[in-house]
Symmetry: D2
Subunit: 333 residues, 4 copies
Amino acid sequence: MIGFALFGAGRIGAMHAANVATNPRSRLHCVFDVHTATAEQVAAAHGAKVAPSVAAALGDPAVDAVLIASSTDTHVELITAAAKAGKPVLCEKPIDLDVKRVEQCRRDIAGTGVPVQLGFNRRYDASHRAVRDAVRRGDVGALQLVVITSRDPAIAPMEYMKVSGGIFRDMTIHDFDYARFVLGEDPVEVFATGSVMIEPALSAIGDVDTAMVVLKAPSGALVHINNSRTAVYGYDQRMEAFGSKGMVQSENWRPTSLRRWTHAATAAQDPLLHFFIQRYAQAYVDELNAFIDVVTSKGKPEVDFEDGRKALIIADAAWESVRTGRSVKVTYG
Amino acid sequence: MIGFALFGAGRIGAMHAANVATNPRSRLHCVFDVHTATAEQVAAAHGAKVAPSVAAALGDPAVDAVLIASSTDTHVELITAAAKAGKPVLCEKPIDLDVKRVEQCRRDIAGTGVPVQLGFNRRYDASHRAVRDAVRRGDVGALQLVVITSRDPAIAPMEYMKVSGGIFRDMTIHDFDYARFVLGEDPVEVFATGSVMIEPALSAIGDVDTAMVVLKAPSGALVHINNSRTAVYGYDQRMEAFGSKGMVQSENWRPTSLRRWTHAATAAQDPLLHFFIQRYAQAYVDELNAFIDVVTSKGKPEVDFEDGRKALIIADAAWESVRTGRSVKVTYG
Amino acid sequence: MIGFALFGAGRIGAMHAANVATNPRSRLHCVFDVHTATAEQVAAAHGAKVAPSVAAALGDPAVDAVLIASSTDTHVELITAAAKAGKPVLCEKPIDLDVKRVEQCRRDIAGTGVPVQLGFNRRYDASHRAVRDAVRRGDVGALQLVVITSRDPAIAPMEYMKVSGGIFRDMTIHDFDYARFVLGEDPVEVFATGSVMIEPALSAIGDVDTAMVVLKAPSGALVHINNSRTAVYGYDQRMEAFGSKGMVQSENWRPTSLRRWTHAATAAQDPLLHFFIQRYAQAYVDELNAFIDVVTSKGKPEVDFEDGRKALIIADAAWESVRTGRSVKVTYG
Amino acid sequence: MIGFALFGAGRIGAMHAANVATNPRSRLHCVFDVHTATAEQVAAAHGAKVAPSVAAALGDPAVDAVLIASSTDTHVELITAAAKAGKPVLCEKPIDLDVKRVEQCRRDIAGTGVPVQLGFNRRYDASHRAVRDAVRRGDVGALQLVVITSRDPAIAPMEYMKVSGGIFRDMTIHDFDYARFVLGEDPVEVFATGSVMIEPALSAIGDVDTAMVVLKAPSGALVHINNSRTAVYGYDQRMEAFGSKGMVQSENWRPTSLRRWTHAATAAQDPLLHFFIQRYAQAYVDELNAFIDVVTSKGKPEVDFEDGRKALIIADAAWESVRTGRSVKVTYG
């Protein structure tokens, strides 16, 4: 049984807490949150302790691993501290919004040998992973085109948007990581453009709510990503990989398999699952299992710090493309 | 160029007239209808003559073949006359509502050697035919279950229902023929039941508007047919053939391939094509081509008088099943 | 926390044990199985005790409820004992294969007031339930036709088939219950027929592996069920309800939402989930939650002893129909 | 009856000839092709004359309209001559590969008042048009994202590629026109990139076979186009329009509605219709009908010379984007 310390007990932290608590191979040992009441509530729900501090949690020998689900600006500090304490880390994306801080963190944890797994949920979704696996097996032949449709069901409040780092670092970063996952290589060029069509207040902070991206890989494979902050029919998550031997796609899931036939329409399906907590519920379970495997085997995570760093570098390049109107070369340092 | 005489210039006759006239291998020579104005209209639309009588049409050397689209009660007489005149016949289903008259007609035309093709449109639909072809090729292995969904978009007026011969002779007869087509053998047992759920006036004439049938074939394969006289979403025509190696299905067609995604529903498709004239438009063209092939090659029709006779025998057995509550053995004489 | 005694620790018992153990509102207190080693294994996996006997388990005050997943022939005795001990029961279908024993059990437990919930898994599947809910809300108007497709992925060994009670009591019984669930009324007539097309040895024991059923409800609504013991593409479970305002259907689920496009085929999906443990995994969780609600609230189960009894009565009538070739009137005593 | 002169009797010319000949409102009067044998063959098939020269055809009073299906480099000359002769023109896309020649042609025919309709087939496809109509009606609210998937089934021979003008002028030009059609406004920016992944010989002529484009409209709406010269599963043509109220899509058509279920895959559909002659067969008929309406009513074509000119301007900007790596501003002169 792997004992977990959970840092951050908000919505996504609470979900991770439940996954840790019900997983037969793990238990929730302690919870820390800057809002003590929040930590207490989540800890109580699963018979865990409230940790008085991060340091106390990291010093606790009953803590075998750390799950970071706190606000983005705390990730670097927590990853560094956990790595130095020798505790394997599962950290929600992104590592940080500032690539300089990410590079510093990378240097600080180098040599600790502590595994740091990043929480890119798409990688653990059975359908999106099946697309990648089919590509890797050669089912589509030489990969030529990838189309990623990724639309949120409803835009977040402006308070969140202001600290989000902008659409590419906050939302598209998942798609950048998935693009690397399915490509099996790192994009070398990125073009991005966007519009403000949903929340006019975004203009004042230089963000967009509607975006399109084109990536080019060394092989010549091209990737398209389109994003919207508000799809009224639900959380739209589709992947398509096309190559010399054919195509594979992962389609959306619905709450039920119901089809309705009326005088007005036929075979109409449910609206999509609302958002990531529902859509990727099983992915979060599988992500945790993969992390427990890593902790248990002292192995390497499939999706690690480097993946988080590279996705952020692409996101930065996307913003540069928006500013310059150019396709921007991406280098990973 | 095969010269056609058309008997019957109502809705379906007019459609056949247009198909004959635009087919590069045929021309509409003359039209006869007991309503002369109707005949005149259809003839004029395609530069054809109005025949003064059936006999005149059949005696006209420019008439190479006959298309019978008149009311059901005239079919036997017209088939017999045409066969005796040596003119190949394409006749709309059914041959007649009375199997005794059908048997008499069979005897009367025996020995003429004149091909009589029956207008069972499902056989010429590319999708339903693809189901049959897949079964015949062995794609589903040993055929075990057939499910036929066959629902009209809107019930006909009571005047029509009164002379229709009842649902099994009028509507299900298509499905009985399709069952034989896909089975490749003749059903030996039929169970049928029905309800009046749409048009209460049907009770008085002993008919039903909602029906289910189960057929058993000599091989043990079972066939289910379900019928409704009114499907508000359009003309519902689906075939399913299941066996030891898998299943094939033919789905409905829509006017467009549009899918709609709203807050209320996703991937909603168009209502179905309204009715047989639209749904089987291409099937009627292909049926005509098959008939022209027969006329030209002096060959045998793929669907002929015997198919019409057998489908009627099954329909009669279905009515007997409704009356007796028993599964009725079917023999074809 | 509801403490459970589990009777029967085979495949389906082990699944229920895991569901009880991971449910936040229940715990697995003890396990009894005639094969002690089996009981020990399941108990150990969830930190439960092995009960030395049924009586000991029923007499244990830490046991709040009983889950019966033992072989069918033990159900009546266990239900009766549990009811007399005042322990609410969740029992796998069927109650028994002999309606006389079921009637006796009904009398024996009458007056205990102990809730007995039957494990008809389709009722707790979100998609099949959505069909029922849509019908009940009037979305399809007056219900006219129900089509139930229910095919197992692979036939069980003959040892099982010999004690199964035959296809209608063993397999179709789920579909009979679902028919009653969606109809909202009890069928008054049943016609059934079948063939041996998969396992020739079934003929010797008077069973079939391929079957079709037609039910008629008092309203006139008609229900069709088709069954096969072996569908090579997986466990095929589809429901369709048609009425005066339209139709709803529940489609199959696949392991992933993958679609494959090759030179040979387009939009090909995964084979279906293999069998009931996978297909109805969430239904079993939801069924348990419904039962815990009943135990907690002292309420009535939505699906209870009467539902199990009535489904068996229909199954018996189906066998009578096969024997007699007649549509058999069903009365429920 | 509109009498047509057909210029160009190759594959697409022959198809147009058949459409003209079988349309009840038109007849094929004469055919001209630089290969006289080709002209003779097509003329003979439809009882038309071979025109000795373009001038003769244009001077023939029996010619009411002209259909241009000859090689691209002859379009400008033929359009100009026909317009000056007062004969309405239906011309296959593109007008020319050189925008300067297009501008000259525009000046040359200005003031003739002769309608010139361009053959952008997507506009007349019922499904793609239904997407546009839904957008125009406001069904998706404010239009935000358009995704156009457009892939050919098999790359053309290098001899053709060398004179094609490159992928954006030859293939994507259809998608540029469709983008304008669905947007209802002219794109102001275009980014394009491409790779050689199918036919290495394309590198030497500066063309690509795999491409992605992003357009931005004045409203802020973004359009993505992806192209491949070879999709092994057939001619892939899908449109998607997304906005504040939802989404509409047009899916591909297959030859039949067959679905196949085997141990390896479920609900597998046919490969797509091979190419444009099959996929847009009805669109070509409807395009001709629209043109006959224009000729008859002396009206304006829905898709005219200006549409052809603007699509070419976007294509030129796409090539400039490829060369410069920049998003290129588009102006229409």
